[in-house]
């Protein structure tokens, strides 16, 4: 749980009349010569305070463009450390940053980009306990974490505080962008009153993201944020922008404020922050409960039995593109095809199923047992655990 002592902010700037220095005039000249921004818009940017939650895929282009544009005060919230899998899309970080706290690497990069602005660092999980306190000092909030508990938390906190929330979300090749929490505009709960139960959202098998996608979506969030600050153009309030990078197509849907919305409607039932992890996860625990009774084998036990020459049939239930990354030489039937291809399996033999982490293969064991297979085991921890415990030459992904 975060405590206030973990939150470091620099003192607020004094309230002297805001002007641009000679260096700032030079730095922002391409804004200043454009009438839509001009001196007035640039001074608005200098006085603006924007909170960026998350410094990852969406937060990277957002932070970079807001800092470059001269947003006077940028708050960053992140608790994570940089790892190698981040570098494919999180362009705030370099290979030499791996292992560093993201907040440190991000603020160093933004300070280097623009030393004229103030960076506030919040090295913490945003939670119901600290969100209102962290958000209250900012004009605009941008959520770049792209996970359900934080999204509902930020939505509700922004509605309660009356702050616009520039929203972006990505999945594989597809993105969504809009602005929630604007006066008289819809909020995220108007669109989706409840999160999906974890069992029904695509698992790691269908996940993944094209590295440039958060770059595009985060840059659109940055554009919307800058437009809100300078007060120009048509914002995305009331419009959900859908982007498909594979088709390279933008579409737009109308968003309406829901009069029955539990948080921003006429008779709100959510009037303070709740426990968002519970709100988003409670049904997930139910969904994973059957796995408790799934018979398992550990990677070390499997290795010992294979070395002993036991007759085991290895069934890999991942997708073909995952098999190409690494495999244990098993017979490949993706989980989604198992019901159609079950005849390929011999129920008299002992079968060990595996996937990447053990979740999909547990579903496969459950399915096979219901289909009458008696000797089926799940490889505990999947190919990741095999790499950790048996064969480190197998790459992890």
């Amino acid at each position: 749980m975060a405590t206030k002592s973990e939150i470091s902010t620099q003192p607020a700037p004094t309230s002297a009349p805001v002007t641009l220095s000679k260096e700032e005039v030079l730095r922002y000249s391409r804004h200043l010569i454009m009438p839509e921004v001009g001196m007035e818009g640039q001074l608005r940017l200098k006085q603006a305070k924007v909170l960026c939650i998350g410094t990852g895929g969406l937060g990277a282009p957002l932070g970079l463009y807001l800092a470059a544009a001269g947003v006077g005060r940028i708050g960053l919230v992140d608790f994570d450390t940089v790892d190698f899998t981040n570098l494919q899309r999180q362009i705030l970080f370099s290979t030499s940053d791996v292992g560093r706290p993201k907040i440190e690497a991000a603020s160093d990069r933004l300070r280097d980009l623009n030393p004229e602005i103030q960076i506030d660092r919040f090295e913490t999980h945003l939670s119901s306990d600290n969100a209102l306190d962290i958000l209250k000092d900012y004009d605009i909030v941008v959520d770049g974490t792209d996970n359900f508990p934080t999204r509902y938390l930020v939505n509700d906190a922004c509605v309660l505080l009356g702050k616009p929330n520039v929203y972006g979300s990505i999945f594989r090749f597809e993105g969504q962008v809009t602005i929630f929490g604007y006066p008289d505009g819809p909020c995220y709960r108007c669109l989706y009153p409840e999160p999906p139960p974890p069992g029904l959202v695509p698992s790691c098998a269908e996940g993944g993201v094209l590295g440039v996608l958060p770059g595009i979506v985060g840059a659109i969030q940055a554009a919307e944020t800058l437009k809100l600050i300078i007060g120009k153009g048509q914002s995305l309030v009331g419009r959900l922008l859908l982007f498909d990078a594979l088709a390279m197509r933008f579409r737009e849907l109308k968003l309406r404020k829901n009069p029955d919305c539990p948080v921003c409607g006429q008779h709100p039932t959510v009037t303070k922050l709740i426990d968002y992890v519970e709100f988003c996860g409670i049904r997930g625990e139910e969904a994973s409960a059957p796995q408790l009774s799934i018979p398992e084998i550990t990677p070390r036990e499997l290795k010992a039995r294979l070395d002993r020459g036991d007759d085991l049939f290895i069934l890999d239930v991942r997708e073909p593109h995952e098999y190409q990354i690494c495999n244990l030489g098993g017979h490949l039937i993706p989980l989604g095809d198992l019901s159609k291809r079950v005849s390929e399996l011999d129920s008299s033999r002992e079968i060990v199923t595996h996937c990447r982490s053990g979740k999909r293969s547990a579903e496969a064991v459950d399915f096979l047992r219901q289909a009458g297979f008696r000797k089926v085991l799940n490889l505990k921890g999947g190919i990741l655990a095999w790499s950790d415990d048996v064969d480190p030459s197998v790459p992890k992904y």
Partner: protein
């Protein structure tokens, strides 16, 4: 009425990996019925056990949310596009 139904990326795995399908339907309810009859796996992702559209899935006819039109009874015209838009989240759960 020939209409196009756009299937979002997260649900394509349950719809034979198709991006969109052409269907004959005179209202949204019929279109969704025809769709889930063709792709049985889709049904549990779109509807709860009591037959209601799940609260993290919205359906649009062209750019309008059917919740603010006639819901399942929203009529379709030749060439309309029905979009299924679920909530998505690509980031890690903290």
């Amino acid at each position: 009425m020939a209409v196009k139904v756009i299937i979002p990326t997260p649900l394509r795995a349950y719809a034979d990996k198709q991006e969109s399908v052409q269907l004959q339907a005179s209202n949204v309810g019929e279109a969704m019925e025809a769709l889930t009859a063709r792709f049985k796996e889709l049904k549990k992702h779109l509807y709860s056990d009591d037959g209601r559209l799940r609260s993290f899935v919205n359906v649009y006819v062209n750019d309008e949310d059917i919740r603010y039109m006639q819901k399942d009874q929203t009529p379709l015209r030749e060439g309309d596009t029905v979009s299924i838009v679920p909530s998505i989240a690509g980031g890690l759960q903290q």
